[in-house]
Subunit: 874 residues, 2 copies
């Protein structure tokens, strides 16, 4: 036999998830452990892919294998499929490698037909139960396997109950049920043009095919995309003997967790229903009992149950999520799996299990998904309140957290409302640096334009502020201070709620719950630090951000963007004066004001950083970003500078660029305006000298030159820096240490990194720009086509959120190798947005970087990701 | 002796140019050939660099070497430096590796002082001559070595002549001269605060230092930058015994060429003056005689002269440019070098010399600078008329040639004026596709903004139209239809003259001479084709351009930009309709109109191309480039489409991009608007089918997908292309061959070329975009900082004009290697602007490309460059 596509439960084990799917592998494992499992067999994921390759057909060999397995199952159970005397009934369930909840519904009671329902009634002594099972089966089969709308059947049921004047299904008579079965079969025939299949094998193969087809239904595809599950994994099909929890008061069914999935607390957690089938628990018509009550209801069963769950947790060494059924006092387990949990629970369980010596610290570290930590650091919507929420729009989850408040349309209005004690949402077409104070005042920021790395997104993440960006559904009318979306108009002061973790915008004021960090967090993160090789720095421009990052365990600042220091209301004026200067004297005057600010900024930053390393990037954006756009601002500026409005406008016009991202910015500014660079260097070193003197910190200023593409650029700018630095050192009379390094963000820099390393004292990958230029993706414009790229599977992840390993990653690898060839000890880091993303951190570890740098709120994520990378790549 | 810095002429040879400079090496060679050369020695270029390294100081060893050489020279000549009886007088001249005319003036008669002038008079029996030599020396030394203004001395001379009532220097008396010498020495002292040096060695070392210093004077630096001569080559200094052409009527001096440097005609060409020194020939006060007259004046000397010039030409196997002096009937050669020549002359000389069996065809091919050919293909200004021209501005030499005419400020006005028979210059802030017809009507195009690869530049080069772009000096007032520059205002209808080969703009109407292509051109280019390995294709979008390119020897079309087909007045309307369509029906309607145009375009193109390969690039630019900007056009469009003006404006606004170069363009358009791609493919293949049927051409349509960065993009678009192509093939009922290839212009494509080659049937490097993205240089914005980059030596050449070998070149190399690893037979070309530039062509040859593609007028240049590359890299 060339290939095997069908496995009895006893032929598999937990390691065969890729072939058997999660559910099948665990059923096999439990079978091997001798646990009470209704037996069955699994049709492999490989057969699913083969089914598609064969043109959506089950091959003859596979049909044969299934029939053989069925025979074995009959022997195991002593029942017979399609038999009138002792019919074997089965359930058919999908089960993929990764859990994909809701991908396909289950079909229960398969094998019943017009004849066997009678003998089943006789056999169980419960005709009502038999017909109830049959009508459920017809409905499930028609719905799940054949796509007939569930509501058609439910309507019939409702009509019967109304006619009979009863409230619950269980109060229908056996005659009702028999009539219902006939009506259901009628619906089936009307809808599908064929009789409801009476041959159990026809039923079975139809159900199997339905599971395979469900792999490519809309829901499944969307779920896979969201969770990055490859399309070619396929799903397995589990065919399992039915057991019945609804055979009377010594029967029942339930779900349970070995620990509390919300808090992580140890102890059985779950609920069950006496005399019910699985779907009844979920349906919520009857209120289930707490699992502990089972001890009173059926003490023996409970004892066995507890023993098995303990054995399962010890075996899997993780919190288990289980389904079970009691049939006439006999306990069966239908499923076990590692249970989903909240971040807080994940942390507690991991730490507890290490205490219990169930797992090692390293195993514990691998148990928590880094990005889950976000939940702990940001407020979230109250889950119950959220259920009532009405979604009005979907944007990009630009900065996690939840915020609810009154919507305002300008930074000024937001600030004013905040001052009056209101909770505020700032809604803008797009934000600009002038909106900073409005963003600070807001609970959340909502923008119509811009991607995951737009101004709004970057700044919001930096300050831990919730943000949804690129919400293109919204029609914004900034002048009227309204926006329209989903047919509703929101005016200034209307409540909206914004979920930055999902990108969802709700109408109204939804309650939030604050961030909570437990003691387990510190314990757990300390373990991460023991293991990780990568340092984790932060991108921070203000003392507030820097302090937050240190609290979150940052090893220093990897990127301080000096331009953000310029945007404050009073400073930007001097910046504009500097830019529009027509003579060296004018420029010198403006620079003199700016250096005061810069020195003060760096002093405060150095003070907070308490000796931790600070990497300061010289001015990077094109100068026109600092210039006013609004008429009144232009008029004010012209007046203040003693120039005509026309002149100022002309200057603004002349500074405009076609493609500013590749224009006059970065080190190109240092080449054309060396005075600005000198001012910055002076401010940095004077501040370092001050703090060294006052606080005795040992500071090495890392000065970083942006946008270098050519060794000669770096050499030229470095000479300016050194020249000015040496002057300051002389003036200050103390030895201030400094290093001059460079961003690697222009592809040419990566390609010629061997040359650049002859001058650079450190490298820092600016993966935002490197991604933009390597892919030719303007991050502010990609939203115009990125949707189509995802839909057509050209792209699977946002390259601005996760490093594009095959492209940008190759350049990074090349640059690291070339740079280290020149200088084996060259310190190399990354300060792009991707530095806080799990898989990118893993890449950075593998490629041999020294550190990653990310926004303060992503520091814990990066620390854990770095630890996991170290463990994974050992 | 560790190093040798000074060489007697007899110690060198022609191959030592790097050390001795051109002049020194040739003087040495002629010495070795036994020709009559006033002997001397050369101080090497290496000493020049050492002089700078030593802090602008001659080292003791070098001084010693010079003194030793001086002693040897005294022995050779039997004269003594600084002697009263038989003084050795010398000339001091600079001489770099490459000819740098006018870098430093010559100092003659060095060695004279107050005493030796007397004995020199006695020795030559000509006191007048001795004092005349002395006063000349004082003036030259003061001017050249010490920077005293020449005019101070000339004024004295003029005053004396006026006082004496004479017209020429030669009519001054000996007493006058003696008085003049004293006055000159007085000026020297007044200006420099020291006596005129009487010690000949002091004079000599001062002169040598002056030559070294001249290497870094303003003129020399500018010249080097213009001619791309490295700063670290340095100059040599030649110290040579004086001979005198001004010792009476059996003396004389002249310059001569072995062939006519303007026409290339064989035969002695030059002029001389009896009883004169070199400077008199140049000064133009006396009219020199044609060299042939020398035969009558001094038959013996002439015979010797002719014999030597013939020997020189045969020895150097190139046309020689020589200086000579006759001293008392004895002929001396002072210099020989390969003569500068016009393109026409270069071509004729090269072809003639092959006929004369003096050189091989391959040597001939190496003799003509490829870019010189431009002169032959474009009109030029009449050189005499140009002397009168008043320069008003300098821009970028965007497209070669010369044009003079009345200036107009809109395409419409230009077209109208042209229709009335006027010669027209189109002046614009920048051109857009809507200006095409105005550009066609104009003799030359002049823009204020935009670089060498701006719209104006690319289109103008394509049509062979003269263009100066990026002329930032000009203050344009498009509304008033005037511009201001150099303090002058030019109104509509004023004459200007534009030199696209130099970037110069003149006022007034300067006469031009038409392009002339001789029979030699065809002969010569045929030789090039025999030798070259690279094919040369052309970038052409119209039948006119394509035809021109075929005349110039193109092997096919390497890049047909389909978007240029859309800009015609009637078509752009349909394009706009297509872009602004709100439904599939609307779009389909617009596309139906466009496909008619496309099919017609390609039919005409295929007809002209007569079976030569045509590579057609799918639509590339972002759609907003096609949309109207002017209010009236927007209103017209809205009306015609039955939409509101607001709606159209909103749509235009929503298509705007922050960085369009990295935005929604290229294959990204194919992903979001597959219908456009289908329309284009349909048009191409229907046209191919038509022309195959009608004319029997065997056509393979090469369809090129732009801006691919990811194999999945190419795969996706290729599937669309194949699907549509197969439909057309089926409909047409004949087998139309087609290939689907890709541009390699996104860095990521170069990095992942191995993957991309699995789908691409050919590669074509789009080096414009590849340069933009690899360097992060927006070509439309670089003008803001490129000047500073040149000034500070960060960049030496425009990377958009010449491939940046160290950066972009490395990516190209990588892509070629990766692509050929996947498919060893992958055809690879380049279609960026650099494809017509000499050094870039050499690079393309070395890196193993199959073809280069460039604008029609650069095809001959590329053919020759390809031939030279083949020879050079053999």
């Amino acid at each position: 036999m060339a290939n095997k596509y069908v496995y009895m439960f006893s032929e598999g084990n937990r390691d065969m998830k890729n072939i058997l799917g999660g559910k099948g592998a665990n059923l096999a494992e439990m079978t091997n452990l001798g646990m009470p499992i209704p037996q069955g067999f699994t049709i492999s994921t490989e057969e699913c892919m083969k089914y598609y390759e064969d043109g959506e057909k089950l091959s003859d060999e596979v049909i044969k294998e299934i029939e053989d397995s069925l025979k074995q199952l009959e022997e195991l159970t002593g029942k017979e499929f399609g038999s009138l005397n002792n019919p074997l009934l089965v359930s058919v369930r999908s089960g993929a490698r990764a859990s994909m909840p809701g991908m396909m519904d289950t079909i229960l009671n398969l094998g019943l037909n017009d004849e066997s329902v009678v003998s089943f009634g006789n056999l169980t002594g419960n005709e009502w139960f038999a017909y109830d099972s049959y009508r459920r089966f017809i409905q499930m089969f028609a719905d799940v396997a054949k796509g007939v709308k569930k509501s058609y059947f439910e309507r019939v049921l409702d009509e019967f109950k109304e006619k009979e004047g009863v409230k619950f299904d269980k109060d229908l008579t056996i005659d009702n049920l028999k009539e219902i079965v006939n009506t259901f079969k009628g619906i089936y025939k009307d809808e599908l043009g064929e009789e409801f299949p009476q041959n159990p094998k026809d039923q079975l193969f139809a159900a199997i095919v339905a599971v395979f087809k469900s792999w490519n239904n809309e829901r499944a595809i969307v779920y896979r995309k969201m969770n990055e599950i490859p399309d070619d994994w396929g799903t397995a099909v589990n065919v399992q003997m039915m057991v019945f929890g609804n055979m009377g008061d010594t029967s029942g069914t339930g779900v349970a967790f070995t620990r509390n999935p919300a808090t992580g607390e140890k102890g059985m957690f779950g609920e069950y229903l006496i005399n019910a089938q699985g779907e009844d628990v979920v349906a919520g018509i009857r209120t289930p009992k707490a699992i502990t009550v089972l001890e009173e209801d059926m003490p023996e069963v409970y004892k066995e149950f507890i023993a098995i769950t303990e054995r399962l947790e010890n075996h899997y060494k993780d919190m288990q999520d289980m389904e079970f059924t009691i049939e006439n006092g006999k306990l069966y387990f239908l499923q076990t799996r590692n249970g989903k949990r909240t971040a807080a629970a994940a942390l507690k369980i991991a730490v507890d299990m290490v205490d219990e010596k169930l797992i090692t610290k390293e195993e514990a570290l691998m148990r928590v998904e880094p990005k889950q930590l976000d939940q702990l650091l940001h407020p979230a919507f109250d889950q119950n309140a959220l259920k009532e929420g009405v979604v009005v729009a979907k944007g990009l989850p630009a900065s996690p957290g939840a915020g609810a408040g009154k919507v305002y349309f300008t930074a000024e209005d937001a600030k004013a409302a905040r001052a009056k004690g209101e909770r505020v949402i700032l809604a803008r077409l797009e934000t600009s640096p002038e909106d900073i104070e409005g963003m600070i005042a807001a609970e959340a920021v909502l923008t119509v334009r811009g991607g995951m790395t737009s101004h709004a997104a970057v700044v919001a993440r930096g300050m831990g502020r919730c943000c949804v960006s690129g919400c293109g559904d919204i029609h914004m009318n900034e002048e009227a201070k309204t926006f329209e979306v989903s047919g509703k108009t929101f005016k200034e002061g209307d409540y909206v709620s914004v979920d930055g973790s999902t990108g969802t915008v709700y109408e109204g004021d939804i309650a939030t719950t604050p961030a909570e960090i437990s003691g387990d967090f510190a314990t757990f993160m300390a373990w991460a630090d023991e293991v990780k090789r990568l340092k984790v720095r932060t991108n921070a421009d203000t003392p507030t951000d820097a302090k937050k990052a240190l609290e979150f365990g940052a090893d220093g600042i990897g990127l301080c963007r000096t331009e953000h220091m310029f945007f404050n209301e009073t400073r930007i004026f001097s910046v504009r004066e500097m830019i529009l200067s027509e003579s060296d004297e004018e420029r010198a005057k403006a620079l003199e004001k700016l250096i005061e600010y810069q020195r003060e900024d760096f002093i405060k930053l150095y003070e907070v950083m308490d000796g931790h390393v600070v990497t300061i990037r010289l001015l990077d954006p094109p100068l026109h970003e600092f210039l006013p756009r609004e008429e009144d601002e232009i008029v004010a500026l012209a007046k203040d500078m003693g120039k005509t409005v026309e002149h100022v406008k002309e200057e603004i016009e002349s500074l405009k660029e076609f493609n500013p991202m590749m224009g006059h910015r970065g080190c190109r500014l240092s080449v054309t305006f060396p005075d600005i660079t000198r001012m910055q260097v002076r401010g940095i070193l004077q501040a370092a000298a001050h703090v060294e003197r006052e606080l005795g910190h040992d500071i090495t200023s890392e000065i970083m030159v942006p946008l270098v593409g050519n060794i000669k650029e770096l050499k030229y700018v470095k000479e300016i820096i050194i020249d000015e630095a040496e002057k300051v050192i002389k003036e200050e009379g103390i030895d201030i240490k400094y290093e001059v390094g460079t961003m690697i963000e222009v592809p040419r820099a990566a390609i010629t990194a061997d040359e650049i390393a002859t001058e650079a004292e450190f490298f820092s990958f600016g993966t935002n720009d490197l991604t933009q230029m390597s892919l030719g993706f303007s991050r502010d414009d990609v939203s115009k086509f990125l949707g189509d790229y995802y839909d057509n599977k050209i792209l699977e992840a946002d390259p601005f959120a996760r490093i594009d390993e095959d492209g940008v990653g190759k350049l990074i690898k090349m640059a690291v190798e070339l740079g280290r060839k020149t200088n084996p000890n060259l310190p190399i880091g990354i300060c792009g947005e991707q530095g806080g993303e799990e898989k990118s951190v893993d890449f950075c570890h593998r490629v041999g970087l020294d550190y990653v740098s990310c926004s303060p709120y992503r520091v814990p994520i990066a620390r854990l990701a770095a630890a996991q990378a170290a463990i994974r790549n050992r």
